[in-house]
Amino acid sequence: MSVFVNKNTKVICQGITGTQASFHIQRSLDCGTQVVGGVTPGKGGSLHLNLPVFDTVKEAVAETQATASIMYVPAKAVKSALREAVEAELDLVVSIADGVPLKDMLEIKSMLKGSKTKFIGPNTPGIITPGEARLGIFPENIHNPGDIGIVSRSSTLTYEAVLETKRAGKGQSTVIGLGDDILIGMDFIDAIKAFNSDSATKAIVMIGQLGGAFEEVAASWYKKLKHKKPVIVFIAGNAIPFGHKMGYAGDIITKGYISVQDKKDALSDAGMIVVNHINDIHLELAKLQ
């Protein structure tokens, strides 16, 4: 088992004929992902990487019964590509694009409300269930199947967390990068909820960072959870001085200032295992039964 994607997940790729898409789709195919087709408007009817290309997501879904999409479309095209995916009622869409306008994300978030589509990203390495499905840009060679679920707001620290599971002699059930833009699609609660009810996941590693209140909201949700799997959490950004331009200026007045320490306190109060150094994660993992 795993969450959101596995070896049976049929995946289409939006923007399949681009260079980066071709590179990454080939890698995803090589590591077992069931990519069943692609979408590039105007190139429908052709073959790319031996996969059928369609003009629209709707056609692709009708022909292939795909339920998920990995988009390698430029940031400015994410909104319209996502609208297509939502209208085709896909279960899951992943966007790795860096630089999606804030306004587009506001509209995307409003579009997703009341739809069945879950959106991971943007600006994320994506989602990977090792050995089964890779939707994104993960270096698949550092992953190995196992029973630790990983969810991270920081792209590159996701890889760091994966290496920590390895150091503890463990592997990953599914790894989810949420992305660290001002607005994100899927959040910690969606991910932890899924891991918590996944029979193959024994424990969860969560990576948060300064900015936004995503961690605190997850903490108060987790606190009320009846049956909870252990969550080991690391939060980056303690050394950033108050008021530094990093992050979003609106944060402080929209929610009051929340320091990294405040986040850690909230998470630990909720019953999560908070580590101070990212390289301490493997020590905590090793302690788990």
Binding site: P139, T156, E160, D180, A236, I252
Partner: protein
């Protein structure tokens, strides 16, 4: 991207926000002429145009710039030129600029507007809810961050739709919160709707009016204005893009922005080259635990262009604060070998005269290590993030 107050006011007034009459001046003579045009008898307000809040309580580094701050109320026409002369070309330091301050190249000359009371209004994005939030603050002395930290009950938050106008219930709520008289009702509604429309149509990430003044007749007037635009949406607004003031950001920041890398400066001694803000934050935390500060970091993201990466690395290598370099790359999209090539080409141009610790993980890591080993650059290798920090701190101690 931020713009100056006078530019923000100009944009907002196009949307129907009332602003005092004002003109921009680059020289003392222009200031004098502007004063004549904006008000017959004064008083006038001379406002230093640097992109910072708290200008009034700031001070100038130069002694001959006088003891007053960056916002001056001048009652006599004869003193306009002298005050403008003091401010122009001088360096204004505020709590937001840091000790080196910012040079004042232009001043905004405004007609002084008497108000009965003032409040704060802003539109920002609430991240978790993914909504637009209107913020209104009362009973504060200008520093809204302090209010947010210490008296959150003095801030009212109202959720706005993305494009719909504010509801009459919401307006009533704000009226009550601010204890405004009925005379201000129309003006308040117009102000909120104008700010909202300006935010939405221009891809702003935040708009702040600090403060809004309430005039004797109940009308609301924006005495200050700040607009931050979403960098990711500037491609839709070529006109706004032109407003970027290059004097406002350092040359290194400009270079990094040119290559679409993120670059941040702090007051320590280590330069970090990473491919993710999270990695940078983590490295900074670990360095701080070892009593070592970060000078700057550059996030080369998922770069695929070798020359751009080399230019990014050069920005770190040539920062005079940098006494040691930490390179931590976890390659996914980004290939480690491109980084290795970038290091060599940057080092061959500007030299590598400080200790450099390198840790590669992920795509093409072995090839990257091989490239650097063949280059004979004095690289210190590390396998984990912690090890990279330990080795760099040790190298810094040895170099000292």
């Amino acid at each position: 991207m931020n713009i100056h107050e006078y530019q923000a006011k100009k944009i907002l007034s196009r949307y129907g926000v009332k602003i005092p009459k004002g003109m921009i001046a680059y020289t003392p003579n222009e200031a004098r002429e502007a004063a004549d045009k904006v008000s017959e008898k004064g008083p006038w307000v001379l406002k230093a145009q640097i992109q910072s809040g708290a200008r009034k309580n700031g001070y100038f580094l130069e002694k001959d710039a006088g003891a007053e701050g960056g916002i001056r109320i001048v009652t006599s026409r004869r003193k306009i030129r002298a005050n403008a002369d003091e401010m122009l070309g001088s360096t204004l330091v505020t709590v937001q600029t840091g000790p080196s301050g910012k040079k004042v190249n232009r001043i905004y000359v405004e007609s002084f507007c008497a108000v009965e009371k003032a409040f704060y209004m802003a539109i920002a994005v609430s991240r978790v809810a993914a909504e637009l939030t209107l913020l209104v603050a009362k009973d504060y002395d200008g520093d809204v961050l302090q209010v947010a930290l210490t008296k959150p009950e003095k801030i009212l938050k109202v959720t706005l739709g993305l494009e719909e106008k504010i509801t009459s219930e919401q307006i009533a709520q704000i009226m009550k919160f601010l204890k405004l008289s009925q005379r201000s009702h129309k003006s308040l509604e117009r102000l909120v709707n104008s700010l909202h429309k300006a935010f939405w149509e221009n891809d702003a990430s935040m708009i702040e009016i600090n403060p809004v003044g309430v005039m004797k007749n109940g009308e609301l007037i924006a005495l200050d204005a700040k607009i931050s635009f979403d960098d990711n949406a500037l491609f839709r607004h070529p006109d706004i893009n032109l407003l970027q003031d290059d004097c406002e950001i350092s040359e290194r920041e400009q270079q990094a922005a040119h290559y679409k890398f993120t670059y941040s400066e702090f007051d320590g001694s280590v330069g970090c080259i990473v491919n993710g803000d999270g990695v940078a934050l983590t490295a900074m935390d670990l360095l701080r635990d070892k009593n070592t500060g970060t000078a700057c970091f550059i996030n080369v993201k998922g770069g695929v262009d070798k020359d751009k990466i080399a230019s990014g690395i050069k920005i770190i290598m040539t920062n005079p604060r940098v006494e040691g370099i930490l390179l931590n790359i976890l390659g996914g999209f980004l290939r480690c070998d491109l980084i290795a090539d970038g290091i060599i080409s940057a080092a061959s141009e500007v030299g590598l005269n400080v200790p450099m610790v390198v840790r590669f993980e992920g795509t093409n890591q072995a090839r990257a290590k091989e490239i650097l080993e063949n280059s004979r650059l004095p690289i210190i290798w590390a396998d984990t993030m912690e090890e990279s920090i330990d080795k760099l701190v040790k190298a810094l101690e040895e170099a000292a």
